[in-house]
């Protein structure tokens, strides 16, 4: 033992101190593991020192964001794989890091920091620690969703994210929040069961749950009605979180009763991660045209139903919640467009929605209540009102703003597809744009109504977050073509099935399976 110890010591002494900071592919696990570990450490640590307990969460988020940035820079353009515990796929579980996965994985801790529940409000003690723990669980499992390359692992992270979000949504403790959470929980459990049945069908057919392995086997084993039903079941299951049409009835009530920052995080990011899983399934496993048609159909129905409901909504949080469900419909339709173009359009809509809707939810922090009560709020909160108008314009698709380009991409893609279903979806996008402008400007007009306002301005931190997203939106407006090139790079890599398979199974190993 002592000689072993000695050997380790000499190795450590010989190691270049700079090399110790170098990150290998294995470090891809850290952004998932660190928040999960911290989630269980927050409460004991708060017993010891309240200040340390409150610092732990943000510190972990900063470090996981830093690790992800280092990995992205370190590996450059080529995707890489982290085999958990050293067991290579298909026996073990892998994390897959391409640009798409890293982009969303990086957004998780960043948005987690912006919407950290303890920042900018005075809370302390035990409930704060419990909420921090739940937020860390949600962050850890969401990062896992973005990176995971295995259906089993995705299912577990999805459930973990679901349970953490049930806790966070009901954190205000008001009776209405609890009823909303209960209804959310029932729909969510139904979704999990459907997803699990879908995963079981895939397993029965192929004998594996590794996405890369499935990509190789799918052309023989997952064609026809059985494969399609497996896809539909998983789509419904993961669609609960992605606010997909038949399962989005929880959206308005949950986002209206949950704390605004939780709504911002769930609507902004977690819904997109569920979409990301569906996209991975679509690109790697289910390449049938029928799968795309289901997606377009449900997306169109979701878009129309949610936008009409938003048009009729009378309170601000429910209006933007329903509008979020409608936008997710557009995201699904965009991803259903064939080829790289569809992925680019889908990514553009998803990222645009992420910026705008997160910011709108942070504005709704204090602007809860009916739209009539927002009358004249601009006089008390000029910056927040101006930001609202900016986001509304971009959401509707006013030409120089990024929202215009995203809608243009979707419309052009659908027009090029040209099937009846796609043209119908195109019509729906145009109709909902009219609806969106109608209800968003109804709010805008109320905000700038001259009457004296009773509504206080949003909290400083939340206005700051919204302003940050607003600034980002303007930067993207100025730099549309570089951002477009970036998205094209991400999309062509994400849409490359053989790259995924060859990265997970390097050539030497590939022969054995």
């Amino acid at each position: 033992v002592s000689s072993d110890f000695h050997a380790v010591l000499t190795q450590l002494a010989a190691a270049d101190p700079h090399r110790l900071l170098d990150l290998g592919a294995g470090h891809l696990v850290l952004p998932v593991v660190l928040p999960l570990l911290a989630a269980f450490l927050v409460q004991p640590l708060t017993r010891v020192s309240v200040a340390l307990g409150r610092l732990l969460g943000p510190a972990v988020l900063v470090s996981s964001a830093w690790i992800l940035v280092r990995l992205w820079v370190g590996f450059g353009d080529s995707p890489f794989v982290a085999a958990i515990g050293g067991f290579a796929a298909p026996l073990g579980i892998v994390f897959y890091g391409d640009k798409l996965a890293l982009l969303f994985a990086l957004l998780v801790p960043l948005l987690g920091l912006l919407f950290w529940p303890g920042i900018g409000v005075n809370t302390g003690g035990d409930p704060g620690a419990r909420r921090d723990a739940l937020t860390l669980l949600l962050v850890g499992s969401s990062t896992g969703l973005a990176l995971s390359g295995d259906l089993f692992n995705i299912f577990v992270f999805y459930e973990l994210a679901a349970v953490a979000s049930y806790g966070l949504v009901s954190v205000t403790g008001t009776p209405r929040a609890q009823v909303a959470t209960l209804r959310y929980l029932l729909i969510g459990s139904l979704g999990s069961v459907l997803a699990l049945v879908g995963i079981s069908i895939v397993y029965i057919q192929t004998g594996t749950l590794n996405l890369a392995h499935l990509a190789k086997l799918a052309p023989q084993l997952l064609q026809g009605p059985l494969g399609l039903s497996a896809f539909a079941l998983m789509l419904f299951g993961f669609g609960v979180k992605a606010e997909l049409f038949p399962f989005n009835s929880w959206v308005p009530e949950v986002y209206a009763t949950a704390p605004a920052r939780v709504s911002a995080f769930l609507a902004g990011l977690v819904s997109k991660l569920a979409v990301l899983i569906v996209v991975r399934l679509l690109v790697l496993v289910f390449r049938q045209p029928e799968a795309h048609q289901i997606l377009i159909l449900l997306g169109t129905l979701g878009m129309l139903s949610a936008e009409f409901a938003a048009w009729r909504a009378v309170d601000f949080p429910r209006m933007i919640a329903l509008s979020s469900a409608g936008q997710l419909g557009v995201v699904f339709v965009a991803f259903a467009i064939d080829g790289d173009f569809g992925i680019v359009a889908g990514l553009a809509v998803a990222l645009h929605h992420l910026m705008v809707k997160s910011a709108l939810f942070s504005l709704s922090e204090r602007w809860t209540g009916s739209i009539e009560m927002l009358k004249g709020a601009a006089s008390r909160a000029p910056l927040a009102a101006a930001l609202f108008v900016l986001f509304a314009l971009s959401l509707v698709g006013m030409p120089p703003l990024p929202g215009f380009w995203t809608k243009l991409l979707v419309l052009v893609g659908l027009a090029e597809g040209g099937s009846k279903l796609e043209l119908l979806a195109m019509l729906a996008v145009l109709v909902t744009t009219a609806l969106e402008s109608s209800y968003l400007f109804r709010v805008g007009i109320r905000l700038y109504d001259g009457s004296p306002s009773t509504m206080g301005p949003p909290a400083r931190w939340d206005t700051g977050v919204a302003a940050l997203f607003g600034a980002l939106l303007l930067v993207v407006t100025a730099a549309v073509s570089p951002v477009g090139e970036l998205l094209k790079g991400v999309a062509s890599q994400a849409n490359d099935q053989s790259l995924y398979v060859n990265t997970v199974f390097p050539k030497t190993v590939a022969r054995e399976y």
Partner: protein, 95 residues
């Protein structure tokens, strides 16, 4: 033997039990406040509470009888096991 199905089933059971425990905890808390577990009634009350919190009155359905149908009153006490627990309504009357 492929261990994957066993692992999948076990994990699903564990997760299922966890979610069920959470659902039961929610049910108890909701029952303490509203004194009912009927999902329809709970939904109506939630919508009303949300409307009240937002500062407007929930628009009645067009099929509702004129004058509106009053909600059944929230009971003042509910029975949880052998214990009799006051709902929020009951506490409000007492104090």
């Amino acid at each position: 033997v492929d261990p994957l199905p066993q692992v999948l089933v076990l994990t699903a059971i564990v997760i299922g039990v966890g979610v069920e425990a959470m659902a039961v905890a929610m049910l108890v808390r909701v029952y303490r406040v509203y004194g009912t577990l009927e999902m329809g009634a709970l939904r109506t009350r939630m919508e009303r509470d949300m409307a009240e919190a937002a500062g407007y009155f929930a628009p009645a359905s067009s099929d509702a009888p004129a004058g509106g149908r009053p909600l059944p009153p929230v009971p003042q006490t509910v029975r949880i096991g052998a214990r009799l627990v006051h709902t929020e309504q009951g506490r409000g009357v007492q104090s």
